[in-house]
Symmetry: C2
DNA sequence: GCCGATGAGATTGTCGACAATTTGCAAAGG
DNA sequence: CCTTTGCAAATTGTCGACAATCTCATCGGC
């Protein structure tokens, strides 16, 4: 009995939530493997698939209308992204990120976004610099208007702009991949108003360093900003988990 | 020359090199998708499959003894790693990294290995610190003994030790993935004896910073070391292609 | 001779059927 | 009541066949 329960937790963890059984997608045409992967990714992001949950192929087939091969391809692709794990005869399940792993992801983010901020300060286009200021304005209005949902989205855009404006596509890809497992944490803004104000201050300091052309300062500020973000996250986790 | 490069980028370019037609692997059991992926990866690393070359499924089936589904799975996995590109009805081909992309990869490496060096200086185990010195001794003997092949391998181990000793497996994974497309460049040591001596000097400076407990200095030195490495590579490329 | 149509061969994409394995249930035994 | 054992259903892994598409050599018209 205890053994079966243990095994259940190890392999499978059968959280068989009943699915909304809309038989297929709106469009009649068969979806590609990439589209199925998007469908799953989106559901994980939205919290419809929770970490540890098992992703049964037949359910995804019913949900997307794709064939089994396509669904399997999609799951394999997602495994490559580190979003799900696939075990022999156990199928795919949403991967859970430990706090330690989140810490390591944030350290990598600090390094990569830090260097991106420096490169942005050095040779970003005038258009990107302007857009950065605009986004910052939007973020400030979110804080005063208390719109945490919009804040999460704009904040993501702001960080993305720093990277894309730095002109390094490779770093952009790596960061996007790194962010996937913690996407829910990033956007499910359970941040306090105080944290939002702190973030805004950090952003302002970074922008000022960029506009002053001080790449080193921009990098240092960005790093500190991201590491502070992890501290906040970590303290929240401690409150929640004990 | 330029034309072939262009054709390589376009779809196909049937570089139908005849394969060594050993019918299957030594062991009789069927290889898994992961093993097939390793087989392909290894051949790309060794230069047996050159960038732009088309990877025909049937050839890989003959070479590995795996079934078509497994081979296709393996290719898809490799696409996820960024090693090959798959186009509709064009199949898989070894992805070519442009000089600009290599530059971006080196920039990312500089950021990640830099922060790893800092973390190594802060809290690496005594065993890892000792091993770092040992590897450095091996590298020095390579330079004096003129053994570029062994130098490439040991150099890889040295850099890997910095990362693993820093205690961040996420960064380790990212770096491993980043290095795959440029693996041939890293290990096909066409480096001059002078470059090797410069690298050794860099390494010594990094080790000294680490032993002095100066994380900031270690990071800066590591960054400069990697960016110098790219400069060397870039100048070689100009000699060859320009 | 040059150029486009055309058809065969080669290569890849898709799918469903079958085999291997696990899971959940239910009955037998203590 | 608890544990164990066996079986049926569910789920996943594997494979080969067929369809769709591309490549390239050939042929006929101009």
């Amino acid at each position: 009995m205890m053994l079966t329960k243990l095994l259940t937790i190890l392999c499978g963890f059968g959280q068989k939530l009943v699915m909304s059984t809309q038989p297929a997608d709106d469009r009649s045409r068969a979806p590609t493997a990439a589209e199925i992967a998007d469908w799953i990714r989106e559901r994980i992001r939205r919290g419809r698939f929770v970490p540890g949950q098992r992703l049964v192929e037949i359910d995804i087939i019913r949900g997307t209308g794709g064939s089994r091969s396509k669904v399997r391809d999609a799951l394999q692709r997602l495994e490559g992204e580190g979003l799900v794990t696939i075990e022999e005869f156990c199928g795919a399940s949403v991967r859970t990120a430990s706090l330690e792993e989140v810490r390591q992801i944030y350290r990598a983010r600090a390094a990569l976004e830090g260097i991106s901020a420096a490169d942005f300060a050095r040779h970003a286009s005038a258009g990107d610099r302007l857009r950065l200021r605009e986004l910052h304005g939007g973020l400030e209005s979110c804080v005063s208007g208390n719109a945490p949902e919009r804040f999460g989205r704009l904040n993501g855009e702001w960080h993305g702009l720093i990277v894309s404006g730095s002109g390094n596509v490779v770093i952009g890809d790596v960061l996007q991949r790194l962010n996937v497992p913690i996407h829910r944490l990033l956007f499910e803004s359970f941040y306090s108003a105080e944290r939002l104000r702190t973030a805004i201050d950090d952003h302002r300091a970074i922008i000022e360093a960029i506009e002053a052309g001080d790449a080193t300062l921009a990098e240092a500020a960005m790093r500190r900003h991201i590491e502070d973000g992890f501290e906040t996250l970590s303290s929240i986790d401690h409150e929640v988990n004990g």
